[in-house]
Each structure stands twice: as structure tokens, then as C-alpha cells.
Amino acid sequence: MNFNDIIQRVWPAVRKRHLFPELPTPEVIEAGDEAASIQMTDKVIQLNANRLAALAQVMDIEDATSALLDHGVGHHTVCPWDFETHLKLYAALKPVLLDGALVKQVVEYFSDVVVDTHAVRERESKLPEVYRHTESSEVTDVIRALYQRLWGENLGVEDRGEVDRLARIPYLDASQWGDSLRSFSQVIAPLIQKEMDDGNGQGGMMGDTQQYSAGELAEGMAQFAEQGFYAFREMVRDFADELQDANMMPDMGRGKGTPTDADLLFYMARASAFRLPVQTMPLEKVGGLHPHSHSPWEIGKPVQNIDVWTSFGRVMPGISQMWNWRDGETHGDGDGIPDCVVIVDSSGSMVDPCREISHAVLGAGCAADAYLRRGKRVAVYNFSDAQAGGKEVLDFSRDRKRVFFTLCRYFGGGTALHLPDLEPLLKNHVDIFLITDMQITNLDALMQFLIQKENRVTAVHVAQNRDAQRFRQRAADADHICVYAVERTEDIPDIVLSEVKTRFQAI
């Protein structure tokens, strides 16, 4: 029996029933997870050949294929729909159950119930026939008994007491999914926990069907990052496999002061939610020479410069007038944004970004993102006591992971900049973004250094103190330095990068 041919026959009808979801043609896989009827890779629904063959013994194979596809498609079109919704469901249950693996399994079963009920109710699915021949287990029997009650079909299982509570849940009301999931878990979680303890948990009625694109994962994580630092860290731990499969884990190494993958992902995800504006500056010199004034033409001077109108058509030394040319002063339309050097303070007075949310790292990440998003390169100078080796320098790069990795490093200890380190980075009139609490040993030298430079400087202080006040006063006279204060996450969107008096900077 060629299952691929059957899929080719059935798939158009399934697509039509589900209002033409944007999914590639499903496939049949011979190997894979034995317990799963359906798996997904890169949005391709993969049906288990062994399971199809088993179903072919007891029901029409086209109906079986169609039903399994209904289930797979439903996860894309109904529940969870995308990773963001999946994480919302996870977040609704995580504080209650705490165990990430258990939460994921409960969410899996819940979304299965939603999808199957939706398919039976609104898509004329043959799923009841499939569930008549599903292998028995403690959890699947309760779910099948629930289906029996909800759908009014005999699925060949005994009624269960738990169903009284499960049947009252409004599965198809997406606005109540959070509360519904909690009610669902009160009944199902202990049963799943028991199966997991026995090593029998299969993760859903049809196996694991959650497969998201990298874009969905990034979008979902950006939204979830608003839940907070610790919740995000837990989420990354719980979804490590999924993120690893999608190549989302930074995996940048370990060591003292090195951020964990979860911390990096948090700052990357959180920063992507902010879109800081960057002031453009003229980068293109146009106009060249233009005729400015007249002077008498003499022999030896270029004939082509003679202004025939004021010379009355004659070429005579002392009488003919020639144009004097001068440089143009216009800048043209070629406004743009230069590269940026992000200088971030990671001394002991700053918050360790791996222990709690660091506004300095988040702010620096947002600034770096603003330049990277515009195709510019970012260099990072992360310092504490730089002269004693407490520093990490990343040369200009467009690699977002490396930029954030360098930003998230935490050194602790004293605070002193080694200004000669910055010189090689500040060529070509790049922008400077400095974020610190301003409690820097050589702050005066730094101020003098920045005032002397012509680069546009955005300085952000994350604390209100005397040094920050001093920096503000000194910077007030320099029209190429603007200073912001960030004390809360909400202050970050107010930053306008390089909002200084724009000057002509030809590069």
C-alpha cells in the first residue's frame, strides 16, 4: 500500500475542509518515534507508516489518513496556532505545576482535545473512528472517555469519574484557554505524572506535534520575555530541546562571568521588542565645484572657463571674463547611519545580568540592535577595571549572538576605562553608545576624551548620583553628546540614539 499516493489523494480535500492552510504536502515516515502517529518537521506533517498500516486493518485507510491530517493541521490552524500561544498556555500552568516537563505534557493533551473537538465539530473529521482503535493507557482512556461524552460517539471505553469535571471545560473558547487549561490540569496532571513516573508518558494523543519555525520561536520568545527574567530562564530550560532543534540556542561556551544561554536569549528576545530610533547623518558629499564669481581672463588661463555672456563673445585678455570656481557646500541626499561602538560598564556597582535583569545590558542590547537592524556593524567594549584586564573587546561585527554574548559578560570589581583601547575602534566617525552608572575612576579623563572626539555620543546612566550629575553638566556644553537616564525598563524606549546636533561627517 502506497501511503504517499493516499496522501496525494486525500490532502486536497483536507486542505479545503481546513480552509486552505499554508502547509506543504504531508509525508509518510517509516522510522521515527514509534508512539507518535504524527510528527512535524519544518511544518511538514509526517504520518507514521506503522500506525497507518495498523489503522488500515480496522478502517478505511483514506479516512484514517484524512483524520490524522485533520489533527495535524488543527495544531497549525486552531491550537496552539503558534509558539506565542503555546507559551501563553505554558505560562498559565507553569506557576501551578512548576514541573516543566509535566506542564508541557498537559498543554499537549489540552491542545489535542481542542484540536480534535474542533475537527469533529467543524471539519467533519473521521477522528472518532481513529480513537476507537487507539492504544489504551491511563491518560488516553480518560481523554477518550471525555471524547465519548463530548462527541456523543461510542469509542469503546468505559465512562470515567474524571470526565464529569473535564466535560464542563469550554475547550473551543480560546478566550478562556488559560482558565480552562488550569481546570483541565487539575484532573489530568496527576494521571500524566503517574505515567511519567512509570516511564510511559507519550506526550499527547498523537505524539509530539509541535514544530515551529525559527521566526515563530523568536516572536514567541520576544513576547514571553515580558513575563520577566526568571520566568524566561525557566522557559528556556523547559524548551531547551525545541530551541536547540531550531538552532536558537546561543551555545557560546561556559566560564566565569559567562552568561548562560537562557540569559543571552532573554536579553536578545527582550531587546528585539524595543525599536530605538537612530538619528541619521549626512554621509555623502555632493556638489563639487560651482561657478562663484568673475575675474578678467589672462593668457595662460583655461579658455573653457570664459563666460561668453559677460565677455560679449570676445576672447581678449583683460576684457573677457572668466568664472572663478568654488567648492560646493551641499550634503546631498545620502543620509545614513554609521557603525557603532557600544561601551558597557560591567563593574561591581552594576547589576549582574545573569542574576537579575540588567538595564545596562538591555539598553546596550537595544542600541546594538538598532544599528544591526539597519545593516550596520557594532563593536563592543565591555569593561570593569580595564587596566587590570577586566575587559572584553569585540571588533566590529554583524553577528548578533556575539554582540550580545560580549554585552552580557560580567566582570565585577573596580571601574576604570583604558582609553587607548578605544582609539582603534573610534575611526571613521562611528557613533558611540556608552552605558554606565558613571561611577568610573577616571571619569574626568573619559569626559575629556569624549568631548575632544567628534563622534556622536549617546551616554546613558543607569543610576542617579553625583558623578552622573557631573557628567550631565560637562556634556551640556558639547553638542555632539546627549545624555539619558535609564532607571526602569520603561525608560529605554525614550532613548533616541545619536540625537545630537548633526554635523557633516564625510566617510
Partner: protein, 258 residues
């Protein structure tokens, strides 16, 4: 005057809406053909499932219980504040018992009602203190001897649960509870799989209270008889008149074990 761009489709008879009638002009569908025909064909009635009746019945039960609770609030709270003093508790419980006797309810509705009350934005539930008494009245009116309520997943802690729990009833509550849990217990067995706040089992007449988690101050204040067992941390024991209080296996108040 601007024309409705979809007006042309109004002229198309339903019989034209078939794939066979599609006329292609330069590879595109002609104006005669509604490009959304396939979706029109796909419009099918939703299958009626028993689920709809179950949900309708559930909604009706919740509405009925909500209305009953609103009546209790109107009668016992009115426009003022509800304070948990002895007189108010007794009168509120009396009213709750009367209301419970007047409505149709099933024990299976009760847990769903707890969740509904704790999640609802209904103004009736803005005053939560009498809810524990309301639920206690249901438990005492129940014909079931073993009642199980799961209140996990909610931030609010219900107070006054298990008030006057009568003999022969075992009430098991999963989740954290508030103040005055199990007060005036009348021989029933109250099991709490979670933490409770202050005045646990205050004034209990007889029975047994088991708390798997922590308990706050004044445990067993003025209790006359019965046993209180606490497995977690203790805030402090109150002035008892009888009975016994145990912390894990260690008796911390009372003369002899019943």
C-alpha cells in the same frame, strides 16, 4: 459616487457559483466568477455535539449559583462592609443555608463554582469573605460523605472554609486557604492539602483538621475538643479550652490523645 467593488458579484445567481462555471480570461478568472466560491462551498453547518448541552447546562448552573451568592451578598452585606465577627458569621451562614435549601444544585457543580467565583469579574464576587461560608453551607447540606474540592491555581485564598462541618463528612481541599479555616467544626473531618492562615480551627467543637502545609497564628483559639494536625510550619497556638494540637507527630497542646 464611489462604487462598491464587490457589487458585481451581487448579480451572480447562486447557480453560477460552481467551479464548472469558471471562465478564465488570460489565465485569470472572469468577472462572472466569484473568486471566493470555494469558500462559499465550504460553508457547512457546525455539527451539534453533546458538548453544547453540557456547556449550556454548566453555564446555567453557574448562573444559578452566582445569583444565589448575589442574593446572599445583598442580604448580608448590602452597601456596607462585611466583617468576620461572630454575629455576622452566624447570621451569614444562616442565610446561606436557607438559600442553599431553595435552589437546585449538585455537588459536582460546587468545585466548578469555586473556580468560576475565583476567576469571575462579576461584581458579586468582589466581596469574597462570605464565599467560604456559602460553600460550607453546601458541604453541610450535601448527602455525600466524602467531598473533594481542588482550589489550586488561584491567587486568592478563601476564608472560613469548613465552617460547622458536620459529623460524617470528610471535606478535602487541595490548595491554600485563608483565615478562620475550620472554625466551629462540628465533628467533621477537614483535610487541607496546602497552607492556611490564622485562627485555624478556632472555636471548633469536635472533629479533626489536618493541614499538610503551614498554619498561621492562633491555631485552635478557644477550641473545645477535637484534634488539629499540622505538618508544616506553625505561626503560633492560641488559647485552647480543650482538644489537642499536633505538629507532625508531636503533641504541642492538649492533655491526651483522643
Amino acid at each position: 459616487m464611489r462604487q462598491n467593488p464587490f457589487r458585481e458579484f451581487d448579480r451572480i445567481a447562486p447557480s453560477d457559483l460552481t467551479p464548472e462555471s469558471a471562465v478564465r480570461v488570460n489565465g485569470l478568472l472572469s468577472a462572472k466568477r466569484n473568486p471566493f466560491t470555494e469558500f462559499v462551498e465550504n460553508t457547512r453547518k457546525k455539527r451539534a455535539l453533546p458538548m453544547d448541552e453540557i456547556l449550556a447546562s454548566h453555564t446555567e448552573a453557574m448562573d444559578r449559583l452566582t445569583a444565589a451568592y448575589r442574593t446572599l451578598i445583598d442580604e448580608c452585606v448590602g452597601e456596607g462592609l462585611w466583617q468576620a465577627d461572630r454575629k455576622t458569621i452566624e447570621s451569614t451562614y444562616r442565610t446561606a443555608s436557607q438559600i442553599v435549601g431553595q435552589i437546585d444544585w449538585e455537588m459536582t457543580d460546587l468545585e466548578a463554582f469555586c473556580a468560576h467565583a475565583l476567576q469571575s469579574n462579576d461584581a458579586a464576587f468582589f466581596v469574597m469573605e462570605p464565599l467560604g461560608l456559602f460553600l460550607s453551607a453546601f458541604c453541610n447540606a450535601s448527602s455525600q460523605s466524602d467531598i473533594h474540592l481542588d482550589l489550586t491555581g488561584h491567587d486568592l485564598r478563601l476564608s472560613l472554609m469548613g465552617y460547622r462541618l458536620r459529623k460524617d463528612i470528610t471535606l478535602t481541599i487541595v490548595g491554600d486557604l485563608g483565615d478562620l479555616t475550620g472554625i466551629s467544626l462540628m465533628g467533621g473531618c477537614l483535610k487541607v492539602e496546602g497552607n492556611v492562615r490564622h485562627y485555624l480551627g478556632a472555636g471548633m467543637i469536635d472533629g479533626r483538621i489536618e493541614v499538610s502545609g503551614d498554619a498561621g497564628r492562633s491555631i485552635g483559639e478557644q477550641m473545645q475538643a477535637g484534634e488539629i494536625h499540622i505538618n508544616g510550619r506553625l505561626g503560633g497556638v492560641g488559647n485552647t479550652e480543650g482538644g489537642a494540637i499536633y505538629h507532625r507527630d508531636h503533641k504541642i497542646r492538649g492533655k491526651k490523645t483522643k
